[in-house]
Symmetry: C2
Subunit: 464 residues, 2 copies
C-alpha cells in the first residue's frame, strides 16, 4: 500500500497526500457528526488530469475511493466507512470558474468551487445562479451535483439537475468523459449526465459542470402570511401560480410550532404578525421589470385568497428579517433539544391528508409528541420533524425506528419520497430497500455494475 | 415463428396481430418515406400488461422489437429495418388518460395518447400542457418521450424531458418498471427515467408517463419584428429575457429567404411589415394576469431595442396569422423543391459567428447556394437548410454528404449538436460516431448492454 501512496504522491505532490491522523480527521467525520470513518489517505488533486491520474492508480490497485466536496452531506454520503481501506479524494483544489458566457447564460465551474463562488461569478456578469442553500458558503458544486441539491428556489428554477447542461466526469477507471456542453437542446443519444447527477459519487467523480444562468431580478416582494390550514396554503399557492407563474420564486410553509421555537430560542426574532395562526407561508415574488408593481399586484391577489393576515416587507431589510425566521428553524430546533428529522416529498395535492393522517398515527403511538413541520410547499417537500415522543423528550432516539416507520409508511401510501433533497448516503441506505421496488433496486445495481464493475466508487453509499 | 405468432395472438387477440402485407405497410414506412422496412407482424396490445406479455414472449424467442407511436419520426426511428425478423409493437391502443391532478399540476397518460389529447385533458382542468409540435394531432406521448421532443415553447417550459416527472416502462425482458411518480423532488438513488427518455425505444418501451402541467396563461402578446442581423436578434432576446423572464414563451428567428418562400408558395400569406429586412423574429409573451399590460410593456422594451420595425398582433386572429407564417416554412420549402435539412443546436452566443462562417464555407463549396435558415433562437436551435447547390437546384442530394460534412464540422467547432430535437434514428446513426467521442459512444453501448443485453429493442437505431 505504501507503494500506491508513493505513486500518488509522485503524481500530485507529497503535500497533497495526507495521512497524519489529526490532519485527516475533518475529512473522515460528517457534518452532523454521526459518522466517523477511516481512510488510507486523503488525496487533494488540483486538476481534472490529476484526478484522472490518481483514480487510475487506485483503480488498478483495487482501492476504493470516496469523493468529497465541502463535506456538508446530511446523510453521511461524503465520508468513508470504518474499514480504513479507502482513500478520500477531496475536490477542493479544483476551483476554477472556467468560463462565464452571459449571452448563452451559462457558467462552467470546477467541482471544488463553493456554491457562493459560483453565485458571485454569475452576479459579476449581471446574471443569477439561483441555487441557494444554508451551507452555500462551504458546500461545493461537485457535491451539489452529486446530491441533486434543492433549496428554496426550486419552485421557480428547479433542482441542480435542471440547472445543469453539461458535465465533465472522471470515470471509475480514470478515463475522462468530456460532456461539457452549453446546449439547451441536444438529442444525440442517451443523456449520460443524468446518470452521474444525484448518484452521490458512486458512479464516478464529477470534476466540472456547465450550469444555466438566468437574468437577475430587479425587484422582489417578500411576504409572511397567516393561514388556517394546509388546504388554504394550497389554495393560495394555486392562486399565486396562476397570477404570477414563475415570478413566484419561493413558497415556504411554516407551522406555528416552528415559529414559536424560533422566537423562543433565536435572540431578536419576533413574529411578523400580531395574532398567532396555526400555519404561515413565506412567499417571494421576483421580477425583471424596472417598475414597482409587484407589491400592489400581490396585495390584489391576497385580497381574494384565504389569507387571514399578511406582513409585506417594505424594504430589503424587512425581507431579510422574514427570511431569517424561516432559515432559523433548524437552529432553533437544535437549541430546543434533539428531534427526529425527515426530509420527505409528496404530491402537493396529498399534503393536507398526509399531515392529518400522519399526525393522528404519531399521536396514537407517542401521546404528547410534538411535530415540527416546515418546508418547501411548492415542491411538495416537507421537513417533517418530531420530538417529545416521551415526557421531557428523554430517550428520543429509542423511538426513532418506530417513528421513521410510521412516517415513511405514510409517505409510501401517498406515493411520496423518503428523501426529497438530502439523498440516501449511509443514513437511509438500509431503509431504501423497504420503500423502493426490488426491480428498481436491481436496475440501480445494474447501472452501478455497468459503470463501476469493480465497485470502487464510494462503497456503502446509496446501495447496500 | 408461426408458433410465436400464435402465442402472441393468444395473448392479445387474433385481430391485433397484423400480418397482411397491405395492412401493415403504413407501419413499415416512415413519415418522410425515406425508409421502407419489413416485419414479421405488427402487434397492437391494449394495456401495459399486454405489452409486458408480448415483450416477454418476443424476448424469450429472441425476436427484435420496434416500438412505434404515431410514426412521425423525422429520422426513421420508428420503422423496422429491411431484415424482416422484427415485430413492430404499436402503442396506439394504450390511450387512457389515467389521472389529472390539477392541484399537483400533473397528468398521467398512456403512451398511445396523442399530444393533442393530452393538451385537451389538461385544458379541461384549466391547466396547460405546453409541448406543442406540428404533428401534435398524430404524434403520441410515447414517441414524444422517446425522442425528448422540443417545439416552440421549450424556451419557457423545457423539452419533454423537463416536462416528465415519472415513467412506466416495460423492460426488454417484459418486466414492468413502475416509476410513475408525481414528485418535484425525489433524491432516492439513480434517476432511472432519464435512461429511457430520448432513448428512441432502444432500452425499453415507455407505456405511461406522469407529466407536469402549468397554469393557463390569461393573455398573450405576439409580435413579428424586423432585425438587421443575428447579433441584433440576440440583443433583443437578452432584453426580453431580462424584462419578461419566463413570460417570454417563444422567440423564433426567420430569415427573409424563408419569409419570401412562404409568401411565394402559401396562398393568402403576406409579410406583416412593409419593408423587407434580412431577418425577423416572431416572439410571444404569456401572462397569467387578468390585466392587459403585456402589449404596452412589450412596446416599451422594443423602443429600447435594435428592432427596426414591428407588427404586434391586435387580436388572436392576427396572432394566429403571424404564427402561420412561421409554421408554413417547412411546407413552403417543400413546394419550392428539395432541400438538404439540418436540425442543429449551438450555444446561443455562438450563433452569429456560426452563421457567418458557415455561409462563407458553403458559398465557397457551392457557389450560388441558397440558405433557408429559421429556428428556435432562444434554445440555440436552428433549422439550417440549403438548396440550389447547383444551378436549377438539380442533383441536390448528390451534394448532401459534402454539405452535411461542412455544416456538422462547423457545429462541432462551436461545440454544438448535430441533432437538437429530432433524434438520431437511422438517419444520423452512421454520422454520430464522427461527432461523438469514442468514450461517450462506449458508455452508451455499456448502458445498452446493461439494460438490453440481447440487443432486441429497436435494433439499428441510434447506435451502430
Amino acid at each position: 500500500m505504501s507503494d500506491l501512496l508513493a505513486q500518488l504522491a509522485h503524481r500530485i505532490g507529497d503535500t497533497h497526500v495526507l495521512t497524519d491522523p489529526q490532519t485527516i480527521q475533518p475529512y473522515l467525520t460528517d457534518w452532523r457528526k454521526r459518522y466517523r470513518g477511516k481512510a488510507l489517505a486523503v488525496l487533494r488533486p488540483a486538476s481534472t488530469a490529476e484526478v484522472a491520474a490518481i483514480v487510475r492508480l487506485c483503480h488498478d490497485a483495487g482501492v476504493s475511493m470516496v469523493p468529497q466536496g465541502g463535506n456538508t452531506s446530511l446523510c453521511g454520503a461524503s465520508v468513508p466507512d470504518t474499514l480504513g481501506n479507502a482513500v478520500v479524494i477531496s475536490l477542493s483544489r479544483l476551483r476554477q470558474i472556467r468560463q462565464v458566457d452571459p449571452v448563452n447564460q451559462t457558467l462552467t465551474a470546477e467541482a471544488g468551487c463553493t456554491l457562493v463562488e459560483v453565485q458571485v461569478a454569475a452576479a459579476q456578469q449581471q446574471r443569477l445562479f439561483p441555487l441557494s442553500l444554508a451551507s452555500e458558503g462551504s458546500c461545493q458544486i461537485g457535491g451539489n451535483l452529486s446530491t441533486n441539491a434543492g433549496g428554496v428556489q426550486v419552485l421557480r428554477y428547479g433542482n441542480m439537475r435542471e440547472l445543469t447542461l453539461g458535465l465533465e466526469v472522471v470515470l471509475p477507471d480514470g478515463q475522462i468523459w468530456d460532456g461539457l456542453r452549453g446546449l439547451r437542446k441536444d438529442n444525440t443519444g442517451y443523456d449520460l449526465k443524468h446518470c452521474f447527477i444525484g448518484a452521490e459519487g458512486t458512479l464516478g467523480i464529477i470534476t466540472a459542470a456547465t450550469l444555466k444562468l438566468f437574468p437577475r431580478p430587479l425587484q422582489q416582494c417578500t411576504a409572511w402570511v397567516a393561514l388556517s390550514g394546509p388546504e388554504d396554503a394550497l389554495q393560495l399557492l394555486g392562486q399565486l401560480q396562476q397570477r404570477f407563474s414563475d415570478r413566484l420564486t419561493a413558497f415556504e410553509l411554516v407551522s406555528d410550532v416552528c415559529l414559536q421555537l424560533v422566537t423562543q430560542h433565536i435572540p431578536g426574532s419576533r413574529s411578523p404578525l400580531e395574532a398567532p395562526s396555526p400555519w404561515y407561508a413565506l412567499l417571494e415574488l421576483s421580477d425583471g421589470a424596472p417598475d414597482d408593481r409587484l407589491a400592489g399586484d400581490l396585495l390584489a391577489t391576497l385580497a381574494e385568497s384565504p389569507v387571514q393576515d399578511a406582513a409585506i416587507a417594505q424594504s430589503e431589510q424587512q425581507a431579510r428579517a422574514l427570511w431569517l425566521l424561516r432559515e432559523s428553524i433548524s437552529e432553533a430546533q437544535r437549541l430546543d433539544g434533539p428531534s427526529i428529522k425527515h426530509d420527505i416529498a409528496l404530491p402537493v395535492s396529498a399534503i393536507p391528508a398526509f399531515l392529518q393522517d400522519t399526525a393522528a398515527l404519531l399521536q396514537h403511538a407517542f401521546p404528547g409528541v410534538r411535530l415540527q413541520v416546515f418546508g418547501h410547499l411548492g415542491d411538495g417537500n416537507l421537513h417533517y420533524n418530531l420530538s417529545h415522543t416521551r415526557p421531557g423528550n428523554v430517550d428520543l432516539f429509542d423511538d426513532e425506528a418506530q417513528a421513521n416507520r410510521i412516517v415513511y409508511d405514510q409517505v409510501a401510501h401517498y406515493r411520496g419520497s423518503i428523501s426529497a433533497e438530502h439523498g440516501i448516503g449511509q443514513l437511509k441506505r438500509d431503509t431504501l430497500p423497504h420503500y423502493k421496488s426490488a426491480l428498481e433496486l436491481k436496475l440501480m445495481h445494474q447501472l452501478k455494475a455497468s459503470l463501476d464493475p469493480k465497485g470502487l466508487m464510494n462503497p456503502g453509499k446509496v446501495l447496500v
